[in-house]
Amino acid sequence: MPNDQSHIAHLAAGPSRRAFLGMAAGGAALAAAGAGQAQPVPTRARIVIIGAGAGGTALANRLVERLDGAEITLIDPRPQHLYQPGLSLVAAGLKPADYVVSQTAEWLPDAVTLIAEKAAAIDPEAKTVATEGGQTLNYDFLVVAPGLIQDYDAIAGFDLDMVGENGIGALYAGPDHAARTWQAAGRFAEEGGMGLFTRPATEMKCAGAPLKHTFLIDDIARRGGNRGKAEFLYAAPQGALFGVPIVAEKVRMLFDERNIDTAMQHTLQSIEPSAKRATFADADGAQVEMDYDYIHVIPPQRAPDVIRQSGLSWADKWTDQGWVECDQHSLRHLRYDTIWALGDVAGVPKGKTAASVKWQVPVIEDGIVSAIAGQDPTERYNGYTSCPMITRVGRAMLIEFDYNNDLTPSFPGFIAPLEELWISWLMKEVALKATYNAMLRGRA
C-alpha cells in the first residue's frame, strides 16, 4: 500500500488541488492501516509448505509478512496455478480455458524458495521431507497443502482422453478438460437426449459444483429452446442433494421446478462409451444400467499417496480416502504438533473450497507464529465454507455455512442465502476471482 499512497501523493502535488486529493490520500492511508500487521517476529525457523495451490501460496505470502528471517520453502511440481472455482464457468462455455491458468511463480514473494518437484516422502519423526528429485529438507514446521488426487481409474471404462467426445464430460480434471467438457455438454444442450450428472461417494472439492454444472447446462438448453428434447438426471451416492439440510431442500425444490430428476444413492461404477451406457450401484449394491447422451463424471477423490504413506492420515475415519488427521478448529495434526493440514487434504468435515482456504490460512498462520513466539494461538476455524451456487446464467445463491450446518451469511438482511439473486452471480462472476487473487497475495 505505501506505493499506492505515494502515487496519490505524487498526483496531489498541485497546491490548488491539495485539499481534495488529500482526501483520496487519506483513504489510501486508511487502507494501509487496515492491512497493517504487528511487528514481524524474528526467527530462524525452517518452514516447509507442500503444495503451492490456493492455500500454500496464500500462507507463504502471509508468513513472509509476519516473520523476519524464517526460511520458507514451497514444494510443488506444477508450474501453473489453477483458479479452480472458474472451472464450472469454463465447462459452461462462459469463460475460456486460460481464465483459470496463471503461473505459480508470479504469486510468490521473492523471500520464499520454490522447489518444482513432487514431495515423495514425509518423515514426521525425523522432521524431514524428501522430494522426488532426491533432496531432503529438514523442517521445524510443516504445512501439508498438496490438494487431492482424482481417482479416474476407479470408474471402469473411463479414460481422460475421452472427455469432449461421445458425450463425456469431466470438468474437475483441469482447464483443458473443462473446455472439452463444454464441447460435449454444449452439444447435448443443443441436440438433447439423456443427460446424467454424477458425483462420487467420497469427500470432494466444492460439492456444489456438480449441481452448478447441472443447473447451467439446463439453463443453456432452455435458452436455446432445446430443453424439451432433453432429460436431466442427477445421480449421486448420497441420500441428499447437499450436505447442509436446509440447502438440500432448496436445491430439491429448484430441481423440481426445472424438471431435473434425481437418482439418489446411486454410485457411478463404470461406463461403456461405445454403447453410451453407465452402470451404477444402488443402495443395496445392485447394478443399475442407464443410457446417456451426455454424462458428467466426477471420480472418487483421495489424499495424495505421499500423505497416506507417511502415516499422517486418520486411522479410523475416511480410511479409503486418507485425509490428514488434524484438529478441526486449529488444523494442527493430532499426533505431530509441528504439522498443520491446509485445504483439500485436511481431514475435517467441511472445507474443500477456496473460500474455506481463505478462512483456514489465517488460523494456520496464527498457529505457526504463536508457536514461534511461544504464545497460545487465538484463531479458530469454524468450518466456514462458501459456495456461490449458480442456478442459471445470471443468478446464484450465495450459500455460506459452518461445521454445524448453520447458514453464516456475510451480508445478513441484504443478500439472502437461499434466494436466487443477480448480485450473488455478480459476486461469482466479477468479485470472486479478484478476491481469490487478493487472497493469494495474502491481502484478503
Partner: protein, 118 residues
C-alpha cells in the same frame, strides 16, 4: 467473507481492473471531480444552460452504465431476483447518470467559459 475492510476492498478492485488501470481510473474520477469544483468556484455560479445539457445526458449515462455491467457479466435484466438486485441496478444507473452529468457540465464549462456563453 471474513472481514470486509477498506483495504480488502481496494485489493479486490485492484485485482478486478489491474493495479495500474484501477488507480488511473480513481485518478481520472478525482480529476473530473476537481475540474467540476474548479469551474464552479471559477464561475461563482451554476450555468443553467449547461446544467440543462448535463441533465439531459443523465438518462444516457444511466442506460450506458447498466448496459456495460450487464454485458460484462453475462447478465440480463430478467436476472433480477430480489430487492437487493434492483437496489444495486438502480445504484449503478444513478452512478452512471451523475457521473456523465458531471462530465458533461465540466467539459462544457472548460470548453466554453462564461465570457463566451451565449
Amino acid at each position: 467473507m471474513q472481514e470486509l475492510t477498506f483495504g480488502t476492498l481496494i485489493a479486490v478492485f485492484e485485482e478486478i481492473f489491474g493495479r495500474g488501470l484501477f488507480w488511473i481510473m480513481v485518478a481520472l474520477a478525482g480529476l473530473v471531480t476537481l475540474a467540476y469544483i474548479y469551474v464552479l468556484v471559477r464561475d461563482h455560479a451554476v450555468s443553467w444552460r449547461k446544467f440543462l445539457w448535463a441533465q439531459l445526458s443523465m438518462p444516457l449515462g444511466a442506460v450506458a452504465a447498466v448496459w456495460f455491467l450487464l454485458a460484462m457479466t453475462d447478465s440480463r435484466l430478467s436476472d433480477m431476483g430480489g430487492p437487493i438486485d434492483l437496489i444495486v441496478l438502480l445504484g449503478v444507473a444513478a452512478v452512471g447518470a451523475v457521473g456523465l452529468a458531471i462530465l458533461v457540465y465540466t467539459l462544457q464549462s472548460l470548453l466554453r467559459p462564461p465570457a463566451q456563453d451565449g
